[in-house]
């Protein structure tokens, strides 16, 4: 059986098991919609007070929110489960992952799959769709291509960040919450135009934790806004490159972490 088939079975098992407690499941699903919804509601509240933020209108920002949120939601649904590595390391159950004939990332992603997280991915998708109908985007062929490419790059970038930050738990299990700064923080940050933030924070999201490539740069191109720092317009297209670099880095560091792993023992 190949990895994908095993993964599918693990996911299937989780879906069946979660649906056993239907009330709890649907309330959790609703909770997930609300988690993303609250972020969006905050944006709605803010635009009740101002017409634009740094020259970005409400629908411009809704578009940013949707673009970032879909990639984030997909990463949350399919990859964020790697966070549970720290729980398994603490409980001493991680050893079992290493003796099974399937990569540890696949196992974590499959065994800890949580269908409720669909709620998190669907809601920004709806916002994105609505924003698209209200925005005046020049749909040239490159622009038509840029949209799905950006969504997939966003998914890959967030996923890589999840794997990278979870790798840290092999060295220190207590600092898992640090990951939230990068994942949830990154998503909140990219829901607003980067122009809003101070110089240091702007440079961080462009050069250090490159979440600006998820939504902001593509949106600058699609909505025909000026590029910050006098950057050339082709940076809007660098999402896949940034994603590839991050995914390779995540793979390398996860492997390094596995080699470093020593069981808790007792």
């Amino acid at each position: 059986m190949n990895s994908l088939a095993v993964y599918r079975r693990l996911v299937g098992a989780r879906v069946r098991s979660d649906l056993q407690y239907r009330t709890s499941f649907f309330m959790f699903l609703a909770g997930q919609v609300l988690v993303g919804g609250a972020d969006f509601l905050a944006i709605v509240v803010i635009f009740g007070r101002v017409d634009s933020l740094s020259g970005w209108s409400a629908f411009d920002v809704a578009f940013l929110y949707g673009l970032s949120g879909v990639g984030f939601g997909l990463g949350d649904l399919l990859v964020s489960q790697v966070e549970t590595a720290s729980d398994h390391i603490k409980a001493g159950t991680f050893d079992a992952f290493l003796v099974r004939p399937l990569g540890s990332l696949w196992q974590l992603a499959g065994m800890e799959f949580a269908p409720r997280r669909l709620g998190r991915a669907v809601q920004p998708f709806v916002v994105l769709a609505i924003a698209l109908t209200r925005l005046d985007i020049d749909w040239t062929v490159p622009h038509v291509v840029l949209l799905p490419v950006s969504l997939l790059s966003g998914f890959a970038i967030y996923s890589a960040i999840w794997v990278l930050t979870s790798s840290v738990s092999f060295w220190t299990v207590e600092t898992q919450e640090l990951a939230n700064s990068f994942t949830y923080g990154g998503n909140t940050l990219t829901s607003y135009p980067v122009d809003v933030f101070g110089g240091v924070l702007q440079r961080i999201v462009i050069f250090v934790v490159p979440v600006a490539f998820v939504a902001y740069f593509p949106a600058v191109e699609l909505l025909d806004k000026p590029m910050p720092f006098g950057l050339p317009r082709f940076v809007a297209w660098l999402g896949p490159v940034v994603a590839a670099i991050l995914v390779l880095a995540a793979r390398g560091i996860w492997r390094l972490a596995l080699r470093h792993y020593r069981s808790t023992g007792s």
Partner: protein, 265 residues
Amino acid sequence: MKFRLYAEVARSTFRRVTTYRGATFAGVVTNTVFGFILAYVLLAVFNQRGSVGGFDATDAVTYVFVTQGLLMVVGIFGNFEMAERIRTGDVAVDLCRPYDFQGWWLAVHYGKAPFYFVFRGLPPYLLGALVFHLRLPPDVPTFLAFVVSTALAVGVAGAYGFILQSLAFWLIDIRGPSQLGWITAQFFAGTYVPLVLFPAWLESLARVLPFASMIQFPVEVFLGKHSGANLAGVFALQLFWLVALVAVGRAVLDRATRKLVIQGG
């Protein structure tokens, strides 16, 4: 003497939470990062609007960092410590012990607060102050009023969490209701955006809900927005919600223990 018991529960909880140094560090970083994000967004709003609902830009940015510091103090993310004991059946032993079940869990909740106040509350504010101009309470009495208001907020959130976790007597998995309950609380407490930015009708509604007592009111007291009779009114509303939620929690617990059947042997 019952009070000594609860004080001891609070003290041992305090000691327990002090041991997670790495988690405290990680939490401070996360709160500070979110503080910076929100601060810049609100600055962009207030740079256009000057002032909204009696808040100016400095108030808004200070609001953000005090709020980030209070999140863990009042415990507005919720937890499952009590629900876990109900799910596993350990609650049977707890209910037989010679103390008040609700009092025990409120003492646990209060035991964490002083540690979080110093180690989760101060750092985000100080780090924020390195970059932004932040306001201090105008005088010592205002700061003391802030401490009182925060103590009431801790109780309100603790009593609310007790009700949510009591659902574990009926549901196997309470993560869903817990999430719904706490997200609602966070939004209406003003952790996403301060209530003063809400549309007027929603702000008026939010101010009478119990959630404003968890974050918005203590932070407004910190900023010196309430004094005299106004301040007494804030304390009274917070106290009202504390008493009301404790009463609801007792009623819920009462119903639960009447139907409770513990498995095992």
